[in-house]
Every structure is written in C-alpha cells, then in structure tokens.
C-alpha cells in the first residue's frame, strides 16, 4: 500500500514536488544564492529592500532587554538592526534552516562587531527548537514563502511567542493596482537573467519569481494567521502591495 505522505505533493515554484522534497529543493536554491544574496536583493527590489526592512524593524517596536527571533534570518540584515535596539540585556536569535546562509549571517555580524547579544540556531521554522513563550517578537522576512507547511510554521511561531508578543511576516505579496501588477510582472521576468549575470544562476531566480506568484495574497495570509491563533492581525502594503508586512499578536 502506498504511503499517504509520499503521494502528497506541494509547489516548488510552478513545479509539483513531493512534500518531503520541497525543503531539499529550496535548500539547494539558497546554498546557491547565498554568496550573492544581498546583491541580488538590491537588483530585484531596486534597492528598496533595505528601506522595507528598516521599516519592518520599526514595526517590531523593540525595547531594551527584549528577546527577538530573526527567523529565516539568513544573512543577518535584521539581526544587525535588532542587536542595538534590545541592548546588552536583550537577546537576538538568528535562525535559519540553511547552513550556508546562517554561516554568512554569522560571519557578517562578526565582521560588524555585533557579538554580545546574538546567538545562532540552525532551525526549521515548522519545528522551532525553542521553549514556549520565549520571544517578545518574531520576525520572518522574505522567508515564509519558502516554508513547505506555512500553517505549521505559523503555529510554531505562536507557541514560542510570549503572551502579548508579536510576529511580523514581511513577504512579497500581490500588487493591488493592475497597472503596477503588469509592470511588476514584466520586471520580474528579467530576474532570471539578472541572476545569470550577477550570481551565475538563473534557475534559482526563476524559482524566486515563481514562489512569489504561488505565495498567498494579503487577505489569505492574514486569515492563515488568524487560523493559527494570532489576534489583532493586520497588514501594511508596501510599494503598492508588491510586498506586505503582516503583524499578529499572541493573546495575553
């Protein structure tokens, strides 16, 4: 008799792959893109990803002494900003499922002299290895769309958030304006070519384009957060909805 799990498939971009293989496929993508990750972010976002991340950090409303999880934090962009905000009494945990990305993040933070309040964790967002009620804030920036079981990841995030704490999901979303949507579609068709030129890898950026298309839209993701148990869920469109920042809280 065929195993039920092995007959289940999920999307990897536009491809259908067995559920248990998606993480491996995604892993290959990020092992490949890790060295040029930030540069490619600049290319595909026309430099705006830095401002968007900065604004996301502001929405985290961190205070000295707090504990924050930078989930799927990869190269450490956000951890770099979180560290001075939580101060010496606070903690930043930089977590990623991909060893190459995590190593880059750690090296980068060390190069910037950020060491005292940051710890590193090789962690799967669906099975977070932290105790319940650990974090004042969890932020997952441009990571959720790569997770195989997003609902499981959201439930895991809720579990490890402190009562009253918040989770932020920054991710590509659906532009609200049809003209912008068409312009953005046309622009994103160039990404695999840019990936070829900048990082010597067009397939990974083809996956990037496709994974954005397959990701839930604003209202769908908000509902997923509500279904996972978050309260006061809302979202902020950025760049006309090209990206969105979803915020949800754990009830006290």
């Amino acid at each position: 008799m065929q195993d039920n799990k092995s007959s289940k498939t999920t999307h990897f971009g536009y491809q259908e792959v067995p559920v248990e293989e998606k993480a491996r496929h995604v892993g290959k993508v990020f092992h490949s893109v890790a060295p040029k990750y930030d540069l490619m972010n600049d290319v595909v976002s026309l430099g705006s990803h830095r401002m968007i991340k900065r604004f996301t950090v502001e929405l985290c409303a961190l205070r000295p002494g707090q504990c924050v999880l930078d989930l799927a934090g990869g190269t450490g962009d956000l951890s770099l900003k979180f560290s001075p905000l939580v101060g010496a009494q606070g903690t930043v945990v930089l977590a990623d499922i991909n060893e190459s990305m995590l190593r880059m993040g750690r090296d980068r933070l060390l190069d910037e002299g950020v060491t005292g309040n940051v710890t590193y964790s090789l962690a799967d967002a669906e099975k977070l290895p932290f105790q319940d009620d650990s974090f004042d804030c969890i932020c997952i920036a441009y990571g959720l769309r790569n997770v195989t079981d997003k609902e499981a990841a959201l439930r895991a995030m809720l579990r490890v958030t402190k009562p009253g704490g918040r989770v932020l999901v920054l991710e590509f979303s659906k532009p609200q304006n049809p003209v912008l949507s068409k312009a953005y579609d046309a622009f994103s068709k160039l990404w695999p070519l840019a990936g070829k030129v900048v990082a010597g890898d067009s397939d990974s950026y083809q996956y990037l384009v496709e994974s954005i298309r397959m990701h839930p839209d604003q209202e769908s993701l908000k509902q997923m957060m509500v279904d996972a148990g978050f309260v006061n869920c809302r979202y902020h469109d950025v760049m006309g909805g090209i990206c969105a920042i979803h915020v949800g809280f754990k009830a006290r």
Binding site: R63, G87, P175, L180, M239
Partner: protein, 218 residues
C-alpha cells in the same frame, strides 16, 4: 504605507548624515551622551507627518514609526522647525513662532542647541523629506480604488493608440487602411480589365497572323 516608506528613506538619509557629522565632533558627542535615552516626537503640520527622534547608544535615531510615548513633542510648520535649527536667537524662535512644545522642555532645548551647532544643511534635509513626500500622490494613486487604474489603463490604451497612429504614423489608422484596400480593389479591377483587353487584342492578332499564313500564294 508607501508614505511611511518614503519618510523612512528620507529619515535614513538624515540619520546617516548626522552620524557622519557627529563622528567628527567630539564636543557634540559628549553633549549627546547627556541626552541618552531621550525621545522626541516631531510633528510637521504641512504635509501632516510625524517623525521620531531618539538618542540611543550615543547616536541619533530617526524613525517613521514608534509605539511608545516620547519624552517630549514639538509641533510646527516646516519653516518654523527649520528656523529652530538655523536661527541664532533660538529663544525668540521658540516663543515667537507657531511652535507647540510639550513634555521635557529642558532636554528639547538641549537637543535643539546641539543640532543647531552641528551646522548641517537642515533646509536640504527638509526639502528632501517634503519633496519626497510630495510624491506620496503616487502612493495615494496606488492605494485608490481600482477605478483610477481601470480608467488610466483605458486612457493609456487610447492615448497610445492615437500616438502610434497619428503622432508617429507608425501604423495606418483604420480609415487610412480602408482607403488603401479600396485603392487596391480598384487597381485589381483595372488590371483585370487590361488583361481582358490584352487577351482580346492577342486573339485578334492570332486571327490576323493565321489568316495571312493560310492565304499565302505561291
């Protein structure tokens, strides 16, 4: 939300510049240490915009978003706020202009004095923030109901059509095409008639040639 993103970009510019200037001014850094932890809400009345200044780890941070209340707040027009930073008689500015200050006045004045002494081009930063925010019209358009985009798309298509046909004359217009087809039809008819006449003339020539050939006497 794009409004706040633009504000974030402008504030980042100011924050980075402040950091660079402070790095070269040890006296200012010493004064800033005395203000560690101080936070100020800056409310610009036109355009309606709030920014938040805080002193954290010896640096000045500028945010577009903040949840915690600030130690003090200052409200005024861009011109009034700029004067606060460039005028030599600061007391007169505070009391004379349309400025409202609430909260910790002493630390607010200490900060104002520090910033004014830095001799930064505050008018440039203000113009950057306000100039960038003038483009919030773009973000307003993006967030409007689909009517705008639908109308714009339709108008764009019509305008583009007109442009390509009449302005650039890259493509013939429909009436021009119809006229052309009509000319082609007319030409076809004339060619057919000419062919018919040639055929008839040919047949006549054949008859003449045959008649002469058969009537040849020896």
């Amino acid at each position: 939300m794009d409004f706040q993103l633009l504000t974030t970009a402008a504030l980042t510019l100011a924050e980075t510049s402040l950091k660079q200037v402070l790095a070269q001014d040890s006296a200012a850094r010493t004064k800033l240490k005395a203000l560690e932890g101080f936070s100020l809400e800056i409310h610009i009345t036109t355009p309606d915009l709030k920014a938040y200044l805080s002193v954290l780890n010896g640096e000045i941070k500028l945010n577009a978003y903040r949840e915690e209340p600030c130690d003090a707040s200052i409200t005024g027009s861009p011109a009034s706020l700029i004067k606060l930073l460039v005028s030599t008689d600061k007391t007169a500015v505070i009391h004379g202009e349309n400025l409202q200050i609430a909260g910790d006045l002493q630390q607010t004045q200490a900060l104002q004095s520090l910033l004014a002494d830095l001799k930064l081009d505050w008018e440039y930063f203000a113009s950057k923030i306000i100039g960038d925010l003038a483009t919030q019209q773009l973000s307003d358009m993006f967030s409007q109901a689909s009517n705008w985009s639908k109308n714009t798309a339709e108008n764009l298509t019509e305008d583009l059509d007109d442009y390509l046909h009449h302005e650039k004359r890259l493509f013939p217009s429909s009436p021009e095409l119809q006229h052309f087809y009509s000319d082609v039809d007319d030409l076809n008819l004339r060619v057919d008639r000419l062919r018919a006449r040639l055929d008839k003339a040919g047949q006549g020539l054949d008859r003449i040639l045959n008649k002469n050939g058969s009537g040849t006497k020896t």
